[in-house]
Structure formats: C-alpha cells, structure tokens
Symmetry: none
Subunit: 366 residues, 2 copies
C-alpha cells in the first residue's frame, strides 16, 4: 500500500514512522525541505521527489497545520484523482464545511476526515515517535456516502499504527474534544499565566501537581489558536459552565466560614468527573519496570553508570535524570522490560549503586 503524507511535523512524521515499520511504502512532502529531509532521515519514509511510486498513492494523508488543511485536501483530491484523501486535524465540523465549499460533489466521496487523538507538547518531526498512536483513539468521521472500500483502507491504515478506531459524527467528535482536549488546554494556559509575575521564591515551591496541570501550557500558540477558533462554539459552551462553577467557588471564598459547603462540592464534583476518565490509553502496551538510582553529583558518574548498565547487557528502554543544584544526589529512573528488572538491580547494587526502593536487600547478594 502506497501512502503519501503531506506535512511532516509531529503527526505526519510519527505516522510515517509507524506505517514504514508496517511495510507501507511512505512518501513524504513538506513545504519545508529541511522538515521533509529530517522526517526521511528519522525513517518516516522517502522524500516524495525521490520516490518512484509517489505519483499514484492509494492514500494521501494531510498532516499540515489546520488553517491550510482544507485547501491542501482540495488540492490533493485534484492532484491524485484515484487516491483516498484523509487528514489528521483536531476539529472536524468546520473543516468539512470548508472542504465541501472547495471541491466537487463527486470528489467529496474520496475524502474521509480523521482525527488520531495523539500528540505531545513538543512539535516537529524531531519529536516524532513510531508509537505515538499506539493504543490511542483514531476517530474516523465518515458518512453514509463514503464508499466501503475506501473506508476499509483508512481503517486498515489507522489500525496498522496500533490505534483504536472509533467512528463518530463530526459534531459529536467536536463536542467531545472540546471537553477532553480544548477546554483543558485553555485552562492549563490560564493557570500557567498566573505565574508570569510570581517572584522566584514563590515559583520555587512548585510541585508535581502544578507541573501536571500546566504541562500542556507549553503548547504552540499558533496551532492552538487555529484549533480553538475552529471549535469555538463547543468550547465556549463548556467554558461558560465552568465559569459558573468558578463563580460559586469565588463567592464561597469571599463569604468565608459557613459557606465551605460550596468548596467541598467543587472538589467532590471534580472527583466525580475524574472517575469518568477511562484508564490510560496513551501508554505503550508493554509496561516497563522502573529502577530508581541515586547518583552522586560528580562529573563522569553517569558515564560509569551507563558503562555498568552496558556491561550487564540489559537494554534501556527509557532513561530520565533529575538533578537539583545544591543537592548531593541526582535521581535517575531507568526503564527496562520487567523480566530484566531484578538482574539490573542485583548488578547495580553489587557495583555499589544506591537503589533506595529495591526489593532486593543488599545483604542478600553478597
């Protein structure tokens, strides 16, 4: 199956990586030659101008910024008269309306809007991952006019990335993403915004709660302005409900003792909503075991640690270090497949590394 991807940012490049690994032939195109080449170097596919079969792809995926998606879809439908054209944009109703205005009725049947619900707060091909879509929902907004064979191709492509296909009406999709994605983005940005003028001694107290609430506040303003503008009605409706509840909290805080019931209610309603969020889809199906090592803050220590891990011949799946200045120790989290966890802990303990939460007693391995 030949796939042509237009737009090699985070989503386009990640899709290329995922599909290339599944024996799809992927050709890549981007208005930026650098971005296009980077995606190809990462293994996401072949630059289109160098790919022999890129002229007649079965599927064209539009993974451009949302504000040019409609025009790029229309152009692709004209350029590739046999291809099924799809996209990955986060808002579906307004995009579909724009596409309907731009293309012939007969071509419209070859367009199937999609929204793979995957992303990161980082952007660009450099942030791409072949497992970005693994176990994530991939929404397909087809209708009764969509030819079944074309729909089948898109479903097969989505499933090849490891995602879970969900068929939704565009309007239901847009109402859903307003609640689960767009409003959380707006609110995370507003919470982070309150820190702009906070003195350093105040932000120094930041903990994991704040970091989690505001992680997505690092997102790209250009992209998000397009997304918010494209789904404005649905987002506004949720924000108005949220503001009503916010006003109740503000009033309760003003009234003081006697109105703590409203505060308790706000937190309890949050509990209730939180319980509705289904289990993690985002993580890779294999759970890695994490071994936490305390590392003295001296030059060369990490090199020694890696040499020691390398000598054990254990493959490291993920590695994170947090290092606080003034602190005598850094904290290193090494992720490995669970079957090798014990071996890693024994090996590192025997070489004198500190693993505070190891289940293996140091005495037991002498």
């Amino acid at each position: 199956m030949r796939i042509h991807i237009i737009g090699t940012g985070l989503l386009g490049a990640s899709l290329g990586l995922a599909l290339s690994a599944q024996k799809y032939q992927v050709s890549l195109e981007d208005t930026s030659p650098t971005a296009q080449q980077l995606a190809a170097d990462l293994g996401a596919g072949t630059v289109a101008s160098e790919a022999p079969d890129a002229e007649d792809p079965q599927i064209v995926v539009i993974a451009t910024p949302p504000d040019v998606a409609a025009h790029t879809i229309a152009t692709a439908l004209a350029t590739y008269p046999n291809a099924t054209v799809t996209d990955v944009a986060s808002v579906k109703t307004s995009l579909l309306e724009s596409v309907r205005e731009l293309v012939e009725r007969s071509d419209l049947d070859r367009y199937i809007g999609c929204h793979p619900m995957a992303g990161r707060e980082k952007s660009g091909a450099i942030a791409a991952r072949s497992d970005l879509f693994t176990a994530r929902p991939w929404v397909i907004c087809s209708d009764e006019d969509t030819p079944q064979d074309r729909l089948g191709e898109i479903v097969a492509m989505a499933e090849a990335t490891g995602s879970s296909v969900i068929h939704l009406d565009p309007r239901i999709h847009d109402a859903a993403v307003a609640k689960v994605s767009h409003v959380p983005q707006v609110i995370a940005s507003l919470v982070a915004s309150q820190l702009r003028h906070a003195p350093l001694e105040e932000v120094a107290l930041a903990g994991q709660g704040l970091r989690d609430v505001t992680r997505i506040a690092a997102s790209d303003p250009r992209l998000w302005t397009q997304i918010l503008a494209g789904n404005s009605e649905e987002i506004r409706s949720v924000l108005l409900d949220l503001r009503t509840e916010l006003d109740e909290v503000i009033t309760a805080l003003e009234l003081g003792p006697g109105s703590t019931g409203a505060l308790a209610r706000a937190i309890a309603l949050g509990n209730e909503g939180h319980e509705r969020i289904p289990g993690k889809h985002g993580q890779a199906p294999t759970k890695y075991a994490v071994v936490t090592i305390l590392v003295p803050d001296t030059p060369g220590t990490l090199a020694t640690l890696f040499k020691d891990i390398g000598d054990l011949n254990i493959n490291v799946e993920d590695f994170r270090m947090d290092h606080a200045p003034g602190q005598k120790l850094g904290i290193v989290d090494v992720s490995v497949v669970p079957a090798t966890q014990q071996e890693l802990e024994i090996g590192l303990l025997s070489k004198g590394w500190q693993i505070p939460e190891s289940a293996i007693e140091k005495e037991g391995i002498a």
Copy 2:
C-alpha cells in the same frame, strides 16, 4: 534524637519512614489505632504507648488534618514542656493566628510552623513513601523570636528527609501556595467536573493532556475544603485574575474570526508562565541549553555516548531519552549550562554523532 509524630496519614507516616531510616527514634500517635498500627507496621516508627522514650521527645510533629492542627499544637506544647513543636499544614498565616490565641506567649517560642511541600493524590499511611520529601522544598516559617537551637533542630530534621529547606514569611508562603498549589487544585477540579455528564463515547477520547490536567482532581474533598477555607483571601485574589482572562477567551470565542488575537495571547501568556516553573526538584528556572542527539537503537550505544560526553569533561544537568520500539533511532536530549553547549556539539559532531538541530555545520568542524 527522639521525634514524636501525631497523625499518621500520608505525611506523618512518610516522615516517620524517612526519619527512622536516618537513626531518629520515632514514636507514632493517631486518633485511629488502626492508622497508628499500620504506620508502625510499615516501618514509620514505634506506637507511642509502646515506646519507652516517647514521653520526652525533643521534637513533636503535628501531621493531623488542618482543621484540628491548631488545637493539637496547643495541646502538644502543654503536654511536652521541653519539646519543639512543629506541623506540616499547607496554610500558615491563619494557623499561626489560631495558635497565638490558644497558647501562652512563653510557649509560643517553642512552636515553629513548617510546610513540607510534598504530597500525593492518594492519602493515608498506605500511600506513604520514605522518599516523599526527597529533593522537595520544606518551608520553615520561623520569626526573630525563634530560639536558634530549636530552629537548628527543625532544619536538621527537615534535611534528614532529603528535602531542601526554605525560610519564608507565613504571608509570602500563603501567597505562593495559592498560585502553585491551591488554584491549580480548584481549577483541576472544575475541569474534571465538566466531564460528569459527558457520554462515554466522549470521555473515551480522553488523552494524556486531560489526565495530567485533572490528576489532582482525585484529591480528598475534606482535606481540600479545609485548605481552601484556610487560605481563602489569597486564592480568591488569584482566581479573580484568572476569571478576567477566562472572560477574554470566552468573548473572543463568541466574536469569532478577527478576535483570534485574544486566543493566541491566552496560550502565549500560558507559555510565559509555564517557563517560570522550575525543574522537577525545585531548581531555579535557569534555562539549560538542550542538545538533541539522534542515537542508533543498538545495545551499548548509550554507554559510548556517555563516555564521549564524559571525555569532553562537560557536566550533564539533565538527560532524557525517548526510545520507541520499532524506530530506527532514539532521541536523546542532553541539558547543559548554555556556556558549554557549543563545546558539547562540536565534540559530539566530531565523534560522528548526529545533532539535527545543531547551529554548527558539520562541514565547519572538519
């Protein structure tokens, strides 16, 4: 050093675990015999009634729910006339006022308010961890009347848990936690609350962004009602600012095309605030330079990379690897102080490493 901990929930039990590991003698007391025994069984200390020296502790730590903290502090000052009494409550100004009303001026010098800024969305001794305080800020609110020897005892105890001591005025502390902890809690609860009536097909689209924004919405309403009520003025002030910005977003969404500037501004201000949040373990928001290296996914490669960085004698401040199964290349982000970035890039490029976003052209260093 003998420490008596009153209240063996998450914080009290974690403190007991951390101090017991440091050769402190810890005795435990809780109004719930079950909670008290559980903490002791986990290794947090000895149940007070069974501890020979529990009658004359040097330090008494009050780790009860905030609404009974003031009375418990007053009682402890009377019961243990030689001890320094401290607490772990999240709000300091209103607690100090209550304590002042309850105790004699002469006893007040033995009370030193603290706020170890550690926690989890889970509660109870069962969620306790000996490393809960590791590399976290531990705020001490002493004043000029505090005897230096008692202050020294509290600092030593805090440092024994691995935390970083910060001395703050109670009012500055309360303003800070309103921004970095209490407002994020309120807002996370309000975002989660909007999901209460969302159909299952909508919440099925939840991603990591929503999960992060709402993780702390699972927090205990009783505890949080007490915290919010105790710091109502500071929280209300921040929420009013946030509401003003929320109203600007709502208006921009209503006005539609032409007012997207306000949407872009909201996300950009969020970026700005987010950048002020210091690194995970409380480090100052010094921006490190990040060098991104493409690493072939073969065993031993990371060890070679670290050896090469080690040979350059450059200290690594932070290190992250993303390694996706099936991908031909891993992506490694190495953070260093900006002054050493160029040296690191030149050194690694000359050894054949791929640095796609390097400002230094590979040709230039041959």
